[in-house]
């Protein structure tokens, strides 16, 4: 600036000639333009910020699904005796053949005593309205529900859910508008705010909660308990749809597993087990007045409500993998994860399923790396042909039939019939939970998330016509305004977790539907802090946190980036031009971000000729912990880069959910990771790492402690932590207490 208060300026010069009024107008125009430019620049930055968060979030989801596919691949292809297999097999075991009576035993709460000093809420069953409301109050006051009541509540919920159809059909009337909420993701503050603004569920106030109640936020279990309590009190006024996060495999990565284990040290494992069961019984969709379909993700060109209505929804304990139910009955083997299972028997079943799930020639490890869930269904078909190929050799009579043109019909007449139906069912459920709308016509696999599909306006149109519907309300995607219409207003995305990426990043919204079925949208932002921040501050804050996450990601890719820079820097000067810098970064990160635009925020060291000294830049990015000096640098980088994946494997390997793993399992985890990443990790490097962390040398490693020790920055980054960074401090919590809006 530095122009001071000199009077020799254009504006004043004109004052004499054209009068004061004219000058004022000119001054006003000038300020208006400057202000509009300021707003535009800020908007541009907001877009980029948003883009950064979303890119990183989706690449995380992709990583999770890749990991799961990889583990499935190991299960299917490794010999039964291998260590890796034993470590991970439990997550693939399902409890289908376990009879209901056994389940009730599992739920058994009677031997758990509630101590006198317990100051939380007490529940009796059947649950009353007062108790449900009391539960909300208690959670608002940071109380915890005793595990005895948790188990009891879950048992009752399970009993009720089993009676419900896959697709709830409900109707509006004038006195009863239906409220629909999108993703809550463990953000209790948002649910409390919705109840405050809109009222709690009641006979006059029906609610539909559209999935993704858990993960990421820190109060997932509380949200579930509140929703289940109201479901029990008002079974005809509260409807819950399943989301893609109501899945124990997803919960391993995104924080819910950890939350439950931390909150319920004694009975956490049981609670998680029961929740697996309960999640699988959550209804899939809700239809309002036969015209409005509410579901979590979306549809694909093959979605058929008839098929979905008939599916055995509870066999999809995790929607990430096709069920093996039919094969149980074929093989006549029962699998029960609660008792020790004969490994050979499992392996027989797995081999059967393996041949069903994967094409035979899947020999190389490359295959799983790029495979999204979508590919499975294609491969399954290929594979069935393989199976036929096999049977052809064995049975000449079949062979004759196969050569006929009606090959397809033969498919249906063999035992693949049931498999085919199951696969179709599974794919429909996967699409329902994971898909996103797109603007182009058509239907393509959702490569970004790695599961479900993208569907276009033509698919919506066709689907609505076929089912005589007029609107789809779905959630699953965070929107800046909390909601967004697309496909000619035939699809409404609804997201109810405000400040999802960070304080001020987005608003939350819910919708009310009356008999006219015109959506009435209500937006909100549920942080006591956002109100105190000006627009300017909140944009700046969100941006800073996005950039911090991005810097961590960049640093974690250091060696790849170095390689890329060296390619551009053929003379080894250590300098690259801006253009080359941007190209190199994108070639490594694949985040599709406007790197040139972000350069000024990401790179401070800059030479006069507009070049970037990339060694200097890495120094600038480096924000490592203290005791990392003696650890192998490439291992360290792997650790930073695949932190979430590593943590997920730890949680899987920690079969008894104790939060601790033995040195032996620690090594196994790294072995798994090295196979998964196709890179070599030496035993020495792993030992060094283990010694660093096992400070009391008792031979076991605290998973939480280990993950904390290798955090890139001291501040918690939202996307990695699966928890909000602003909700943790006591001062924030006390502020919430007196908050009139809650």
């Amino acid at each position: 600036m530095g122009c001071g208060v000199t009077k020799s300026n254009h504006l004043h010069k004109h004052t004499t000639s054209s009068g004061r009024g004219d000058t004022a107008i000119r001054a006003a125009i000038l300020i208006q333009r400057w202000y509009r430019q300021y707003v535009a620049r800020r908007e541009m930055r907001r877009r980029y910020t948003w883009h950064i968060f979303q890119s990183i979030e989706y690449s995380g989801e992709q990583a999770q699904i890749k990991l799961y596919n990889f583990l499935g691949y190991l299960m299917d292809n490794f010999t039964p005796s291998s260590n890796e297999r034993n470590l991970i097999s439990h997550i693939f075991r399902e409890n289908e053949v376990c009879r209901d009576a056994e389940w009730e035993r599992y739920f058994c709460y009677k031997n758990i005593e509630v101590p006198e000093i317990y100051s939380g809420p007490h529940l009796t069953f059947p649950l009353t309205v007062e108790e449900a409301v009391g539960l909300v109050e208690a959670f608002r006051n940071k109380k915890q529900l005793h595990s005895r009541y948790v188990l009891q509540l879950l048992l009752e919920t399970w009993k009720l859910l089993r009676m419900l159809p896959n697709i709830n059909r409900i109707s509006t009337c004038h006195s009863k508008e239906i409220t629909i909420c999108g993703d809550l993701h463990g953000q209790l503050e948002d649910l409390l705010l919705i109840f405050y603004k809109n009222g709690m569920p009641s006979l006059e106030k029906p609610y539909v909660f559209n999935g993704d109640f858990v993960d990421r936020g820190r109060d997932s279990i509380e949200i579930l308990l509140i929703l289940f309590a109201f479901l029990l009190v008002y079974p005809s006024n509260v409807y819950l749809n399943r989301g893609n996060h109501e899945d124990h495999i997803v919960n391993l990565r995104y924080g819910f597993t950890k939350e439950v284990l931390n909150k319920y040290k004694m009975h956490g494992k049981r609670i998680l087990k029961l929740l697996q069961k309960i999640f699988s019984w959550l209804p899939l969709a809700t239809v309002i007045d036969q015209k409005v379909l509410v579901l979590h993700g979306g549809i694909s060109d093959s979605t058929d409500l008839g098929v979905l209505a008939r599916a055995d929804r509870h066999i999809y304990i995790s929607a990430l993998r096709p069920p093996k139910k039919r094969h149980h009955s074929l093989a006549g083997i029962s699998i029960d994860s609660d008792t020790d299972v004969d490994t050979a028997a499992i392996s027989r079943v797995f081999q059967r399923r393996a041949s069903f799930t994967y094409p035979k020639p899947l020999g190389t490890r490359d295959c799983f790396q790029n495979r999204s869930l979508q590919d499975f269904s294609d491969r399954i078909r290929v594979n069935m042909e393989n199976q036929l190929e096999l049977s052809r050799r064995e049975e000449p009579t079949l062979n004759a039939q196969i050569n006929k043109p009606e090959q397809e019909s033969l498919f249906l007449s063999t035992d693949s019939v049931s498999s085919d139906t199951t696969v179709d069912e599974w794919k429909q459920i996967l699409d329902l939970l994971w898909s996103d709308p797109m603007t182009q016509d058509g239907c393509i696999p959702n490569e970004v998330r790695g599961g479900g599909c993208y569907w276009g306006p033509d698919v919506t149109e066709d689907f609505l016509n076929r089912h005589n519907l007029q609107l789809i309300i779905r959630s699953h995607e965070c929107k800046q305004e909390g909601y967004e219409f697309c496909h000619n207003r035939k699809v409404l995305t609804l997201f109810s977790a405000s400040n999802y990426y960070d304080v001020g990043s987005n608003r939350g919204a819910y919708v009310k539907l009356g008999p006219d079925l015109v959506p009435y949208l209500i937006q909100y932002q549920a942080s006591s802090m956002t109100r105190e921040l000006t627009v300017r501050q909140s944009v700046g804050r969100t941006e800073r946190s996005a950039l911090r996450v991005l810097r961590e990601q960049l640093f974690a890719h250091k060696s790849d980036l170095l390689c890329a820079f060296r390619k551009f820097d053929s003379e080894n000067t250590g300098l690259v031009s801006l253009n080359d810098w941007a190209s190199a970064v994108e070639s490594v990160m694949h985040l599709d971000l406007p790197w040139r635009m972000l350069r000024s925020q990401l790179v401070t060291c800059k030479n006069s000729e507009g070049t970037i000294d990339y060694y200097e830049w890495f120094n600038e990015l480096a924000i490592t912990g203290s005791k990392t000096d003696h650890i192998d640098q490439s291992l360290l980088e792997t650790l930073y880069r695949h932190r979430s994946t590593l943590e997920t494997i730890f949680r899987i390997v920690d079969t008894d959910n104790s939060g601790f793993i033995s040195m032996q399992d620690f090594r196994q985890t790294w072995k798994l990771l090295s196979v998964y990443l196709k890179m070599e990790i030496t035993d020495e490097a792993i030992s060094d790492l283990a010694i660093t962390i096992d400070s009391n040398h008792d031979g076991s490693i605290d998973i939480d402690e280990f993950m904390e020790a290798f955090r890139l920055t001291d501040k918690k980054s939202r996307l990695e932590r699966g928890r909000s960074m602003f909700m943790g401090t006591t001062s924030d919590l006390t502020k919430l207490e007196g908050d009139p809006n809650i």
């Binding site: 600036m1 122009c3 208060v5 300026n9 254009h10 504006l11 004043h12 000058t23 004022a24 107008i25 000119r26 001054a27 006003a28 125009i29 000038l30 300020i31 208006q32 333009r33 400057w34 202000y35 509009r36 430019q37 300021y38 707003v39 535009a40 620049r41 908007e43 541009m44 877009r47 980029y48 883009h51 603007t439 182009q440 000006t534 627009v535 300017r536 253009n579 941007a582 406007p594 040139r596 635009m597 000024s600």
Partner: protein, 164 residues
């Protein structure tokens, strides 16, 4: 020789400009189909550092809009924009003038404007702000304690990070 280096310079300039334009355009290409909503054109212009008037913007959009679809395609945006750049149509306004503009409105030379005064100028003169714009401006720039707009404090925010 000299001619060669000159043309090379021009190419570099062009790729730079192209990337800049593409970046700004893509930020608003929410559908990833090489189009942007015409309502975003103003933001794109301003964020690139231009100072068009509202009339300039309207003229520009009416020339490049795709058959009243409400959208502008990149193929039409690029040539029109290149022209704007080459002709330097909406030159930036010097930072210094901003302070002077505020001083003109601050008749009593108090060093601040009251929200009512600023609202009066901004919504009635020149290219008037909408209520929404006005509310946002006041929320962002009114001093919380004194309830005035101290424009010398505001100016750095308006001009900061202009050269992105």
């Amino acid at each position: 020789m000299a001619e060669n280096s000159k043309s090379a310079e021009a190419t570099v300039l062009n790729t730079k400009i192209l990337k800049k334009l593409k970046g700004a355009f893509q930020a608003f290409d929410t559908k990833s189909d090489n189009t942007v909503d015409i309502k975003e054109i103003g933001t794109i212009f301003y964020s690139l550092g231009f100072f068009p008037t509202q009339a300039d913007l309207q003229k520009f959009t009416s020339e490049v809009e795709d058959e009243r679809s409400g959208y502008i395609h990149w193929d039409r945006f690029l040539p029109a924009m290149t022209k704007v750049l080459l002709e330097d149509k909406f030159p930036p306004i010097a930072d210094e003038l901003l302070l002077q503009a505020f001083e003109v409105l601050d008749i009593e030379k108090r060093g601040y404007l009251k929200p009512e005064e600023l609202t009066n100028y901004m919504t009635k003169e020149g290219e008037p702000f909408t209520q929404e714009e006005m509310d946002e401006m006041l929320t962002a720039f009114t001093d919380e304690e004194k309830k005035h707009i101290y424009y010398k404090d505001v100016i750095p925010h308006l001009t900061l990070e202009r050269k992105m």
